[in-house]
Symmetry: C2
Subunit: 317 residues, 2 copies
Amino acid sequence: MDKYVVGLDIGGTNMRGALLDGDEEQVDELKIPSEANLGIERLIDNLADFIDKIRGDKKIYGVGLGIPGIIDSTRGVITAAPNIKGVHNYPIRDVLREKLDGDIKLVIENDANMVGLGEWRKGAGKDVNSMIMMTIGTGLGGGLILNGQLWSGAHGMGGEIGHMTINSEGPRCKCGNYGCLETYASANAIRRMVSEAISNGSISTALGDRAKAARPGEIPELVMEAALSGDETALGIWQEVGKALGIAIASLQNLLDVDMVVLGGGIANAWDLFIRTAEDEAAIRGFDAPMEKLKIEKSVLGDDAGILGAGYLALQK
Amino acid sequence: MDKYVVGLDIGGTNMRGALLDGDEEQVDELKIPSEANLGIERLIDNLADFIDKIRGDKKIYGVGLGIPGIIDSTRGVITAAPNIKGVHNYPIRDVLREKLDGDIKLVIENDANMVGLGEWRKGAGKDVNSMIMMTIGTGLGGGLILNGQLWSGAHGMGGEIGHMTINSEGPRCKCGNYGCLETYASANAIRRMVSEAISNGSISTALGDRAKAARPGEIPELVMEAALSGDETALGIWQEVGKALGIAIASLQNLLDVDMVVLGGGIANAWDLFIRTAEDEAAIRGFDAPMEKLKIEKSVLGDDAGILGAGYLALQK
């Protein structure tokens, strides 16, 4: 009998997932609304529905859940999750165990950790043992694979690469710290840099006019387009993003000495606009010997990485 | 028959080590000059002599060596070691294997990694699974114990906590980077801060006069004494040290989520002068949930930590 698992990526708007067989091959996939804004009980009901629908008449060995937030994966608890209404220290693993067949293995991790696992198993990192994942979207999430194992911390709360300080006197971060990597390399960071360029009058007229008329969600795309058509302000913003990534990559490599850093998420689509700066900055700042061993690659799995990582972790359980 | 190992800590001036039995208990100890300034061949001869002397007529199972520098522990190579004359990509493990009985297991690691292992096995961290060691001396060395294993990197070059950037616009570091933790928290950092205070005239007269008359090696002790007698400049310097440690501890805990950070090395003897600032800064900057799980402790083994760690690693081999 084959061993089936469900890998799930839970977002604020949708939950996406797949049924995988024991060879980590995708058998089926599904996407339904998560309704996380309606509270955790509704989310749990949707999760149970999702698992029922996707398994059909197959027996499920395990379920892996990637959840955006601070996750205590050792206890199966959502410590904090800004995108799920009314959640604080919520024992999601125990609650789901009550709802589902008691034999099903349940593994809960921060979503970026699952993305890292997926890219390592099936994506850019499939030929290396140790890899750092950075998921650059609204914020910057991270996942650490050390010698073929996810390291999410002694209490499952680690991997928060976006909240390493790179400039202790830098901008205030949403987390309360100052100068986190995320304040320089994320969609939020790009919006901040555009706002500052508008405030201090250093923005080009063309970009400034378009940015003032745009919704916040459109700004990163707009800065990407402007840079591609040679706008100096926009090009400078991507260089700032690249520089910050380079500073962080050097620190991480001096500290962890891995084989590969993989960059994914929507912002990584601007690859050609920042990667050279990032590589140069990392080479200048990091120790030569470990930096020479390091590859920096773009993610290849996109949105599927988190699902595949979650399924893989459930299979390992 | 008992399983004996030698744990060795190789410094620029001396090599210190111990013979341990299979229970990691110390049977004998020895200290001889390393003569590292006379070149690697002399150091190797001294190492062979050391091992011969300390083993007497006992059969040795393994030898663990802690060496200051960038060590490729997977290949047993000293990549770079500023304190050993003429060493670059030197295959010390193979060379020693030729000199010693071929059955002896040889493990080579950066010295701070060995200190971390020792403090985790027998010292401040003996009751935890995951621990970060910071050895604060002339520079700042580090060692990472993750879930009961030393993580020294995919190529054995990791753990360089002192060379994480905490302020990308900070002072130039000896490693070529800017604003490394080591530029704020080390004996070298304290000397820099004293020099700057003298240059810009912000130093108290009493401390300034004493500092100008002192040798560089005496400066940290002098700043410790001055702070204990209430000197404002000196107290401010220790606060800078504490603040930098707090910034780094918050980044490390957001990233690695361990149970304990242990601070050792000569500078850690000024504990009461910086620890409160370090704890406060880390609590402000780090995520609440993992920070609440973290203990920050002073090393208890001092100079013996590296020897015990090296012996332990040889036993594990």
